[in-house]
Amino acid sequence: MTSSIMGYQRKDGRKGIRNTIVVAYLVECAHFVATEIAQEFRDQDVQVIGFPGCFPNEYAQVMMERLCTHPNVAGALLVSLGCESFNKPRLHNAVEASGRPVNTLVIQMNKGTAKSIAAGRAWVKDALDQVADVPRAPMAMSELVVGTICGGSDGTSGISGNPAAGKAFDLLVEQGAACIFEETGELIGCEEVMAARAETPELGDELRAAVAKAAHYYDTLGYGSFAAGNATGGLSTIEEKSLGAYVKSGASPISGLIKPGDVPPRGGLYLMDVVPDGEVRFGFPNISDNAEIVEMIASGAHLTLFVTGRGSVVGSAISPVIKICANPDTWNAMSDDMDVNAGAIIEGQATLDQVGREIYDTVVNVATGQPTKSEALGHREFILTYKSFDPIGPACLPAA
């Protein structure tokens, strides 16, 4: 199987499928100015990301570094109010070291809103000219990182959309791609079957421990990852939701366990542990689907597969989101927002293998440049909040 993907060759050796300039606010106080700067370039690939908090947080710092040096990102304008605690020199240096154009714009030193917006727009205009010349290079499937999440789940998600995404994952892993699945709070009840798929027994223990941590976290918060619409859609318990979610991992052996921002060292299937380490301090691990998508992207995902039964309209900044609709009624209602109709499986019009193949082909087409529905509609959602993680241990990663 050959691929026709022509990636954007970054100076750090990685390849992207998009050539985005990010305007990154470093505190909510700078969000408006960042949005106004980007607004001028609405029809070009200029996107707003950022961290709203003022207190320092290592997780958010690392996430912003990984995002601003993501292979799909060509350059970054950092917008600071000036007095926030975010370590802006560290982020600036990380982007600079990756060979991308970068500038830090401090609002308090640029005479306020209007002059900062003007200065920011001038920089982005120049940067767009510079990054238009980024060299293109053939990109193998083995250089691709693909994430999968599900959201707005119902009882169809687990019998059509998620297992079809799992088939696509199997095809991608076979081609050497790195594939990431996640949401350990929605794997409660699956820990033993999942651990049995680990490449090593030690990794199996890490996978079990990650799910146990999630169960403890949700117990402490007093609320599992189960939304009202899940029940309306036919799901009755967290373990039923988990089993339906788990099947999107496919059937490949599990190569490793990563945390948000860790880039898989080679191809294979990886679980992302999204639940903070240590005492329960930060509220729900992922307050919305987009928080999960952003974590996938920080770990290098060029694309994210998003399976929904009840329906979703989200996309994301930085990396395209391919929406797979599990429920035929939802497809009929919301096909303008959906890329793949897995509801055809429910209606007996397609097999899991056929839809899995369609998802794989959609990944290749989108990586080649075809916009997803959410990209064409202009969706560029982004959320980043507070978390805290310990580094992963040696048992979590595959031998090179």
Binding site: D154, G155, T156, G158, I159, I188, G189, C190, V193, A215, Y218, D219, G222, Y223, G224, F226, A227, A228, G229, N230, A231, T232, G233, G234, L235, S236, T237, I238, E239, E240, L243, G244, V247, G309, N327, D329, I346, E347, G348
Partner: protein
């Protein structure tokens, strides 16, 4: 197309592939029953008699326990099943069980 799907041979529930109305006669493992509940797409019915405390099996795996006896063909949902892990808290308004206004 059959209205109900058995996802795994060991399952004691079937999943509706489309909306099926109360009064519809169906056959489960050669046993004829008439549905007494409207069953929405992707909701579950009992494929065999289930007693309170029994494990509910879907995808060949446990998804919780029955909190009441459930006859063949009856709706299996949050009103008669509970998690063995985290309680499902968000169901008060959405579990399909009608409650008197208090």
């Amino acid at each position: 197309m059959d209205a109900f799907l058995r996802l795994h041979p060991e399952d004691n529930v079937l999943v509706a592939l489309k909306m099926v109305e109360a009064g519809t006669p169906i056959s489960i493992d050669g046993r004829d029953v008439v549905l007494t509940d409207n069953i929405a797409r992707a909701h579950k019915i009992a494929a065999s008699p289930i007693s309170a405390g029994d494990v509910i099996v879907k995808y060949g795996m446990p998804i919780g326990r029955a909190t009441a006896n459930i006859a063949v063909g009856r709706h299996v949902h949050v009103h008669n099943i509970r998690s063995d892990y985290t309680p499902t808290y968000s169901l008060r308004d959405t579990d399909g069980v009608e409650r008197k206004a208090s």
